[in-house]
Amino acid sequence: MGKLVQSNPTERWNPMLETLKYEMSRRLRGTTILTVGLGLYVAFIVWYFSLLEPSAFEEVLQSLPPAMSDAFGMQAIGTIEGFLGGQIYTFVWLLALGIYFAYTAAGLIATDIESDRMDLLLSFPVARSRLLTEKFAALLLPIVALNVGVGVATYGLVLSIGETIDPTHLALAHLLSIPYLLVCAAIGLVLSVLVDRAAVAERAAIGLIFLLWLVESAVGAAEDFAWIQNISPTHYYSPTPVLIDGSYELLDSGILLAACLALLVVSQVLFQRRDI
């Protein structure tokens, strides 16, 4: 860019993050709906918790196969932390939102190429790498907004039924989900630049995240194959222990962020090389 200013001092257009702003503005409505929707779901779960007798939880736990209660983190189901961890964080945050962001990212590039919108975007005086980075970074809006919005709502709802939850633990559970959701989105992004058809990229993203989650849940019991868990991003984010006693591994988040960066580099290389 510096080169241009030198060669043409009258040039005033120096776009900065315009694509990021535009893409975020396009995501505002969906983000609001999703945040409100999840907030209502949390309200339902919290209300449901307030109705249950403590002895009922033990029965629920007994009736579940051990693999299932492990998969959904239900050991501490009798406390509000454990209940939220099992009903909201393990299921919604880990699985549903992981799939949602992988799916959304899988559409980022593939949809634009399929609809020929990419032709116009690449006629802009903007590098492919920057376009890709800004489009991906726009996903931070829903990721952050969901965590802040639903996190605050959850805290308020828990207090409203006369229970207490450590606000630091709750905030931490949300904060640590961000690297995890970014990895899911980055997996989708790689598929988005790799596959020609948007529908294929999106379906592959859903399938892959589900498969990785399944691998971690199913292999957890088998010692010999425990290493396979390591390839699943779900292995590096465990919301229930964070909620219960605030325990977490900072290294896990570091691994997730590194994986996200590596996947972004891969998608940049693929996008740079491909014909549109």
Binding site: W13, P15, R117, P125, V126
Partner: protein
Amino acid sequence: MPTIEVNDLTKDYGSVRAVDSLSFTVESGEVFGFLGPNGAGKTTTIRSLLGLLKPTAGTATVLGADVHDEDALIDAKRRIGYLPAHLGFDEEATGTDVLDYHESVKGGSRRDELLEIFTPPVERPIREYSTGNRRMLGIVQAFMHDPELVIMDEPTSGLDPLKQEEFNEFVRSERERGKTLFFSSHVLSEVRRVCDRVGILRGGELVGLEDVDTLLQQGGKRVQIRTTDEASGDFAELDGVIDMQTFADGIQFIYTGEYNTLLGELATHDVREIEISEPPLEDIFMHYYGKAGAVESDREVESDA
């Protein structure tokens, strides 16, 4: 320095060679028509010029920037407008949203002026747009930052005849302002109205590069007539009659000779119906480059879609 310079450009898709060793230049300030039937490689060439496709061999420069050099091409793109053949917009966004975004990235000093000529309903979401409205929005975004060079792929497809005429008028005024315009078309009549020079592409190869006047002279007219008598023999003997075809209810041929001679001959027959029209592009090829070429020009190249 030419505005566009293409040197031995080749794009191979494995099974199909979409563009084969193409070379031509477009000078500053001219309106250059890139003519060819569907599948000739026009879109592939245009997309290579914009860096969307990487050429298999050869190169091209646009406003001095090599298409292989992303940084140089990005700088050049500030001074380039592009109107693709297929316009993809955010369906949920309004025209205003899209133009705001485009303006923020590349500038929009002429936006209001253009919206007086081309009138898409900018306050409505794009999913409600007709083909013509999409096209007009595309034209506005292509010219709004007052670029030096505008590259257009089939710019008038989908426009109603009135808007097409306004567009042609606009193209002529842009040429007077010193802009360079490069556009592809498969419609000769469109090209002849506005272009200075025409490159003809067939099967990925450049088969002609002509002043538009020369092309039209040699292109001739298509004559279809229905007479009460047997006329095909008489007309076939006229100078400049080629590709005579006889149908059950009349004859058709391409006429490149003197009009008076044709009219004289017509007067000796009992003509029931007549149509003299611009020949389709395929027929120009037939005249211009021989029958074999015309057949080949019908070949579809999938990747050009």
